[in-house]
């Protein structure tokens, strides 16, 4: 029974820590990048950001159809409705080239984020 009690206490502690952490928090000085999408093309096709700081991509979908912004390496997947804007939060990254694409038009609609 003492094992159960210990486990229950551990769970309660974990739950409390999680709840405390869920409180909304502001991102620390993120790099903001503007990106637009039209006729299955990203503009600009290559964007860059400094390493080790959070990145915020402001994406404008100028097409009338929905698209899905996706990057496997950045762990991002976001549906953007036709003719609307979206905000995509990307956590701080190590230097490198990170490809992204529109999942609905993966072959043609591609771009990359270069982190320096």
């Amino acid at each position: 029974m003492s094992l159960f009690r210990m486990l229950s206490k551990a769970c309660l502690a974990v739950a409390l820590v999680s709840i405390a952490a869920v409180a909304p928090a502001k991102a620390q000085s993120a790099t903001e990048i503007q990106l637009s999408y039209k006729d299955k093309k990203f503009d600009p096709a290559e964007i860059s950001a400094p390493a080790n700081t959070p990145i915020v991509i402001k994406l404008k979908n100028l097409d009338s159809k929905a698209m899905e912004f996706e990057s496997k390496t950045l762990k991002v997947e976001k549906v953007v409705a036709g003719s609307s804007d979206a905000t995509i939060n990307v956590r701080a990254q190590k230097p490198g080239r990170y490809e992204f694409f529109d999942e609905y038009n993966e072959k043609v609609a591609r771009g990359a984020l270069v982190v320096k």
């Binding site: 551990a10 952490a21 609307s84």
Partner: protein, 277 residues
């Protein structure tokens, strides 16, 4: 056509796995087919609604509506899965035994079925809305490739159903005695994985910033966007770059399930050996 097949299959794959598991879990429960089918249907309808209001949903919570919505429905599925496991720990024996036909067991059984139908609905809803948006986009274009894409999408859907059936019949191959333990563990891992995924969505929305350091990167070994990685992602919550918070949430859900099953599990059955120990 192939592109459409791949996109649709990728989206329905996860739902297929989950529905297969739920079907195996509920194999002895009366009227389970109606409930599961109802869950799938409700999921499809909800997916259409979500797709129709994708823009409005996105704009909620300062542009983080999608992330919060995903985290919310995942959390709902976690609660339902955990509740099912705890409920089964108490009533599983009656349900599988002679009492199955008794009115009470049926009534009780439908509570558990409701929980699992919600899980199925959520799984279909999450991936389904993306399929709806994709197919709608293609059809709205109105050129003659529309039919070819629709056919590809349909083929992808059939493959998803195949995944569901393979999962179901694969699990049924397990002897009945071991099946209960197996599905209990599967469901606990499924719930823990979904909870970690919900944490990831909250991290993307910047609602959860504590412990957001990446603990390891096993992408070189098994990328979570490969087919095997994706299957493991759904089944046990595998991700190649987990944050400390995701790991914490994962372990917490497993612990909570274990403790609740112990506390509320069948009290008079101490005689039976517990294989989990």
């Amino acid at each position: 056509m192939i592109a459409a097949l791949i996109i649709v299959f990728r989206e329905v794959f996860e739902a297929g796995l989950i529905v297969g598991i739920v079907l195996a879990v509920t194999r002895t429960v009366p009227h389970r087919n109606q409930w599961i089918a109802g869950g799938v249907l409700a999921g499809v309808l909800a997916a259409c609604v979500v797709a129709a209001f994708a823009g409005a949903l996105s704009n909620l919570f300062a542009g983080m509506g999608q992330e919060i919505f995903n985290a919310g429905i995942l959390a709902l599925a976690v609660v339902m899965l955990t509740w099912h496991n705890v409920w089964m720990a108490r009533h599983g024996a009656e349900l599988a035994g002679e009492l199955r036909a008794a009115g009470k067991a049926v009534a009780e059984g439908s509570k558990s079925l409701l929980a699992l139908a919600i899980v199925v609905g959520v799984a279909v809803l999450r991936e389904g809305s993306e399929v709806v948006l994709f197919l709608y986009g293609v059809v709205a274009t109105g050129n003659d490739t529309g039919w070819s894409v629709a056919f590809g999408g349909f083929a992808g859907l059939v493959l998803g159903v195949l995944v569901c059936m393979l999962t179901y019949f694969g699990l049924l191959k397990i002897p009945t005695r071991a099946l209960f333990t197996t599905t209990t563990i599967l469901i606990a891992l499924l719930a823990a994985g979904m909870a970690a995924q919900a944490a990831a969505f909250l991290e993307k929305a910047n609602w959860l910033t504590a412990l957001d350091n990446v603990v390891w990167d096993s992408g070189w070994l098994l990328s979570d966007s490969s087919l095997l990685g994706k299957a493991l992602h759904t089944l046990i919550g595998y991700t190649d770059q987990p944050t400390a918070m995701q790991l914490l949430v994962y372990v917490a859900i497993l612990l909570i399930t274990f403790v609740l099953m112990r506390l509320y599990g069948a009290p008079a059955k101490r005689g039976a050996p517990a294989p989990a120990e």
